[in-house]
Symmetry: C2
Subunit: 576 residues, 2 copies
């Protein structure tokens, strides 16, 4: 019995791009085979992309995905690669696809689809799909909707490959106690246990999640007395970022080898043969990726999310408003790192209230990034509106902001750039933004899940990284150090209306991310006045957003939890 060479193919798929995903599977299998791999494993739902949402309910899509698995098998056999075992993810059709006790007729009556598909792993050998496994645990919280679109599997799968027993499960199956992993931990009739647990994943990035994943896998390794090979997808898909970071842990939980985050990678690892003298299996260590600094990790997640969004939607360039402020400076820098500074258009749109140094900072930023820089005054358009409408106060402030939005959309229509929105999480949470303005229109908001304190930290980290590399820091120092202002009236600063951002962000985190009520916030020691101010601002902002649900639906990185709130709701956290 020779070593079994495992290849974990950490690739970047695209939802719905079945042909392209199929081509990627073939290409990475060839590469793995050239490295001597016996078994190549791909991430969850490789051929369809992930997450597919209600696309799974369209029969013609399911048929195409299923055909693609057969095509992969046939093509590999034609190329003489039939001896390689390939494990990949796709959508399955289920004969017994009805959830918990429902009967077909009733499902039709109730409006629920009667033939839910499955989230499936298939095993390809010698030109055929030889086995399949349907995911048991379908997550239905946070960013996940799987119980909506899939039927759960009920059978475990253990493959025999070159004399080894390889158990296969999918993502959430190892996050829940019980279920398929428990079954796999036992010995077979001949007294043999599992030799490898292979886990196919589409595990979205959250800050610090890497440790949680390896610790969880270590626990499952100890439970099954087998090494665990964990292959994760990488790349931006809609509002999610997948960070890769595939790895193998030994039965004692030790990390043996790992892929870096945020890049495609082929991780090779040998499942060695049993030592005939000791009866033990040695578990060799391979290369491991050093953990990233937290600011670098978040920054690279932002770049990965935006880069994926641009490429997968067929754009080649980005346009955004640049004000000289920190949000647009950081957004432009992320854009330049994602698709190259020469593909970024920064438009400065000064009003009568814009300061001179703001214009200088915006021009300086564009120069450092190598971006296309334009100045488009908005006064003529604002005056034309004002000549007709004579607006005052907030209506006038909003008008300026919306004229900027129309300018960006017009440039986008004329030249084909994707408009991006630089609004950050803190501002959006407290409603410090105008609906349909240049900070909130567009296709992607790279800072939507980054609070203002983190915006500054990421800007500093990025500049320092440039200095360390002997490059010019991309962000003008004064954009980082000056007090933030919307510049919609003379002398305005954010702190006229908001608590200091470091305090604001702490309260927001507790109130929004941890869903704490007023009592819990006070118990943490926050000043009651600040708590009531922030709670009131957030509830009011959510109410305003609900009033205009046709307004910005911000799509960005799901670092935090996804919340689905009713549009019309009178609920307000009680304040004094």
């Amino acid at each position: 019995m020779a070593d079994l060479r495992i290849a974990l193919a950490q690739i970047d798929t695209c939802v719905g791009a079945i042909d392209q995903n199929t081509a990627a599977v073939l290409e990475w299998t060839r590469r793995a085979a050239a490295e001597g791999a016996d078994l190549v494993a791909f991430p969850e739902m490789t051929l369809t992309g992930y997450p597919v949402e209600d696309l799974a309910l369209r029969a013609s899509f399911r048929r195409a995905a299923w055909d693609a698995a057969a095509d992969v098998a046939a093509q590999l056999e034609r190329e003489g690669l039939g001896h390689v075992t390939v494990v990949l993810g796709t959508v399955g059709t289920s004969e017994s696809a009805l959830p918990e006790g429902a009967e077909g007729a009733e499902r039709e009556v109730s409006g629920a689809p009667a033939d839910l598909p499955t989230n499936r792993a298939v095993v390809i050998q010698h030109g055929k799909v030889v086995a399949s496994y349907d995911k048991h645990h379908l997550p239905n919280y946070g960013v996940f909707d799987e119980f909506r679109i899939f039927a759960p599997g009920t059978e475990p799968l253990v493959l025999e490959i070159a004399g080894r027993s390889v158990g296969i499960v999918i993502c959430e199956d190892i996050w829940q106690d019980g279920g398929p992993v428990t079954t796999l931990g036992g010995l077979d009739e001949a007294g043999h246990g599992l030799d490898l647990l292979l886990v196919l994943n589409g595990s979205p990035y959250e800050e610090g999640k890497g440790h949680v994943r390896t610790e969880l896998a270590a626990r499952r390794a100890r439970e099954t007395s087998a090494p665990v090979a964990y292959v994760n997808m990488v790349g931006g898909q809609d509002d999610l970022v997948f960070d890769g970071g595939s790895f193998v842990v030994a039965p004692d939980g030790a990390l043996l080898t790992s892929s870096p985050q945020f890049v495609e990678d082929l991780l090779l690892w040998d499942l060695a043969e049993r030592d005939p003298a000791t009866g033990e299996v040695p578990y060799p260590a391979g290369r491991t990726a050093a953990p990233l600094h937290p600011d670098e990790e978040v920054y690279r997640a932002c770049v990965t999310g935006l880069a994926g969004y641009v490429r997968k939607n067929g754009f080649r360039s980005i346009v955004l408003g640049v004000s000289g402020g920190i949000d647009s400076a950081l957004s432009a820098t992320i854009a330049a790192d994602a698709i190259g500074g020469q593909n970024v258009v920064g438009v400065s749109m000064p009003s009568t209230y814009s300061s001179e140094h703001s214009l200088d900072d915006a021009a300086d930023l564009a120069k450092r990034l190598g971006a296309d820089y334009r100045v488009q005054p908005i006064a003529p358009m604002v005056e034309a509106f004002q000549g007709e409408l004579a607006l005052e106060g907030v209506a006038e402030e909003n008008l300026q902001a919306r004229v900027r939005g129309v300018v960006l959309m017009a440039i986008s229509n004329r030249e084909g750039h994707l408009v991006i929105a630089p609004g950050n999480k803190s501002e959006l949470a407290v409603g410090y933004a105008t609906i349909y303005d240049a900070g909130s229109i567009g296709g992607f908001a790279p800072l939507k899940d980054v609070d203002k304190s983190r915006v500054w930290a990421l800007a500093r980290w990025r500049n320092n990284a440039a200095l360390d590399a002997g490059e010019i820091p991309p962000i003008p120092e004064s954009s980082i150090t000056k007090p933030p202002s919307a510049e919609l009236r003379p002398g305005q600063t954010d702190q006229d209306s908001l608590p200091p951002y470091d305090l604001l962000d702490e309260v927001l985190d507790a109130y929004i991310e941890h869903a704490e009520g007023r009592a819990e916030l006070l118990a943490r020691g926050f000043d009651p006045e600040v708590v009531d101010k922030v709670v009131t601002l957030v509830d009011r902002a959510e109410w305003k957003r609900r009033q205009y649900p046709l307004g910005p639906k911000v799509t960005s990185l799901a670092f935090g939890r996804d919340r689905r709130l009713p549009v019309t709701s009178r609920w307000r956290e009680p304040v004094e």
Copy 2:
């Protein structure tokens, strides 16, 4: 044993408005008691409103809702109404709230909330909550997300009230075979069966669903050999409309009494005592509501949805662009029926391409509705933009459309009206609209789920209804009869770019609502050229929408199925 008088309180609740919903429960209980009711039943999740979505995951909200149930009990007792049995819906806390085999610690690890609440019915008697029932079947398809936010109940509930056995279940529990209803069908140890099955519902409106509900209830009545009393909520809530239509069916399935749709109602029905001579229970019939004409039903659903949205979000008036075309004419008429013509502002925003008769029709419409009518030319603003940007072609068309959007938002900011969007379902499906224009910005799109053929049918129905009532038809005849045009360039009509609407709408229904692929569409006999054109338009429109997810998120009536599609997807239905 006297007759047991049942009152079904078909009321309009608001999500999150716990105080207001509590006051409504008290008021309708007093009213029912004054009519001699022994048992008053309210719709699903009465105190919290329905659907609450992720608000259910906020502990302070759950505590407030739970306190409200105790407050209702105490207040009724204080008022001398403790003898009335009240059954209402709220959110419950569950000790054993973890779904399928999960363990608390693991749920925390995986990011799923460990303490999911329940969708609960409580029974109030003599100042106390004396019993509770947690919904077993949690729908998780179409517009429903309940499996995401609730833990399923496992125990049935049968109340003894004045010598009768009353089973209580919630909505989806009767849509699924098996489960609590089956249990309730048996006889107890003394050989007694169920005397009444009471169902609390939050069942959203779909066209023709009334028949499905009564037929389903009839089947459950026959299964349990008991009459079924079905109480449904009424009113608009976000993108859903609840149509009421509460009813009672006899054990043989016959309809005994029913409430009208789209209004609050108190339906009284007596569960009679057993005839001592025959041993039979007589089932008296009461008033029944005549079914509505399909066009009237859809029209009233549109009015109910918009009226609820305006009132529940604290608005008192509506502003919309009126072009003289059929979509804005019907939208304005729905708005006038929802909140009164005097609370509607119609803004005509002519461009150089607007025809004279369009202006006349818009003015005529406003006069018929008693609406505030204004003319706001857009040429000065368009010229100011063009002086700076020199746009051509589609970019120029879009500019005109977006300037209209900015005008409406400015008027809304200045005067506090809700902006509504007149775009219809056919246009939105094929992308015949501009992102951020006057047809797609705003808070509510009353025609979003009404296809263009139906738009004309509703307009004709509404005018005929006025004639039948001896009133002036609200919609100018020429708005109904003239060929539809966006008037963004000279001589433009919709049919320059689109198939005839009756044909288009048939293909859209099959392709979108029924998720049929090209093969199925051709098998229905549609012309291949039309199929490929429509499929290409829809796929392209969805792609464009995906490129601008920060654009219109249209919130309207869920007549059809809700679809959740990935933002970034390369999937296109294959065409020739």
